[in-house]
Symmetry: D3
Subunit: 106 residues, 6 copies
């Protein structure tokens, strides 16, 4: 759970070859998602907003996919996140993220 | 309510001199914060995460201040937002936003 | 006219499912491109510069394509925009945008 | 003319201590602003849009000030630039740049 | 040593109130600066380049100051970093960082 | 040597059609990589860090490839660069760059 960040060959190599770094990333990941005041679902919605606002297609797709698969986050919830992206960060990142969301929820 | 974005002389001038633009911004603002699946409080936390991730001191301070004053959002909630900023966007924006949060909640 | 921003399935869904948001985006779009001191052509060149400077490939291609098709903006004009991107924002976004421009005008 | 970029002690030192770099920057500056299809005024408006979109207060102020003093660019023209920033890049950089513009034209 | 990142009241509070997060940040910091192929000095120069390229004044000043005080990194070395920033990321972040470097080494 | 930046049809056209701009870019490139205090290898590592931190896939791949082919920079050295990206700029650009590095060194 909350492990989606470790997928991929990239992180596999880090685990094998740089154990200290891998352990630090795991510990950071655990400490971050373990909110004291906000639940994991809310933090996940924030992570989608950040990835989309930065125009990072890869991170946006990963965050929306894991939000949907892991937490059952709906298209409507993602759209409410993307509205905040539109207001704060404009049409360019909004349009890009909207396309990604439509693909994930298609 | 939800009007904090209109404060400041900048927007005052827009209102007086470019009524169409002002009306469009008001309408966008209303449509954005009027989430269908997420409440205003959750959207506000997302806006804090986006401002902090972008390293925008001015927007981060405005968002945290209005979150606190308008919605009673707590220091602990903001810290849980900033943890997501740390993981996704690194120590540079995290440190900057942490200082701002400490000033607002001091 | 000036409608290129609405293309794509993403915005189609917004129109159907969130009429208030769609109307606000249309109103904002109309108010923005309706410059009081600058013509639409000049504003379009500014939009190309912003998209290119941000390294946003998708937005850069859309802006250059619509500039060419809708307004007859030439390769030479786009190159003069990209020179400003080079000076202000460096070789990384300049090279990326130059490739996109060459593809559009090929 | 077009020399505003060289002001400041920073560039003075470059001139004295790294002549090759200084000459290269001068040559680049000359080649950039010497548009083949666009005039200097239009390129300057593009530079304002890029600085504002990036949320760079220092560059935004320098560009707007030199646009006003060197070329007589008006508040209305700058506002039409900032509308494009609003649409493409959102309220956060728009609000920041609007305040700067108001200060310069006050 | 390598501790500059923990200064400031912000991180003090994290230490007191969120021990897990603090320990994870310390572990990450240790794992990052403990390069297998590059020494700390080279990694520090990279951190200066990243902070300057991002236009983050606060992080740029902190990185240059600690580079100078902790490692004896010289003005000439910082200038060679900033040249890379100029080429890759343009005059806007270069000028901003050059001013900061001049202040630190004044 | 150090010429990788000029590859590609984009720059070919600049050379043919805008000789002044091309010469200025060549002169800037020469002045930048000709460090007074740092060697080319160290500057190259800084360029990789900047490209990766900005989340620019195209520039990151070009910089890592030319670092490997031109200078024999190793996977371990690149990983030590990317650790700095992780700490300063977060998991999103780190993950993206790690995948690119794995492809280049595969």
């Amino acid at each position: 759970m909350k492990e989606e960040v470790f997928y991929g060959k990239g992180m596999e190599r880090v685990k094998e070859e740089d154990g200290d770094l891998y352990q630090a990333i795991v510990a950071l990941n655990d400490a971050v998602w373990n909110g004291k005041a906000l639940d994991y679902r809310t933090q996940k919605l924030i992570a989608i907003g950040i990835a989309a606002s930065n125009g990072d297609s890869r991170a946006t797709e990963k965050q929306i996919s894991s939000a949907k698969n892991e937490l059952g986050i709906t298209r409507e919830e993602v759209e409410d996140v993307l509205k905040v992206v539109l207001l704060t960060s404009g049409m360019q990142p909004f349009n890009k993220a909207l396309q990604i969301a439509n693909k994930v929820f298609e």
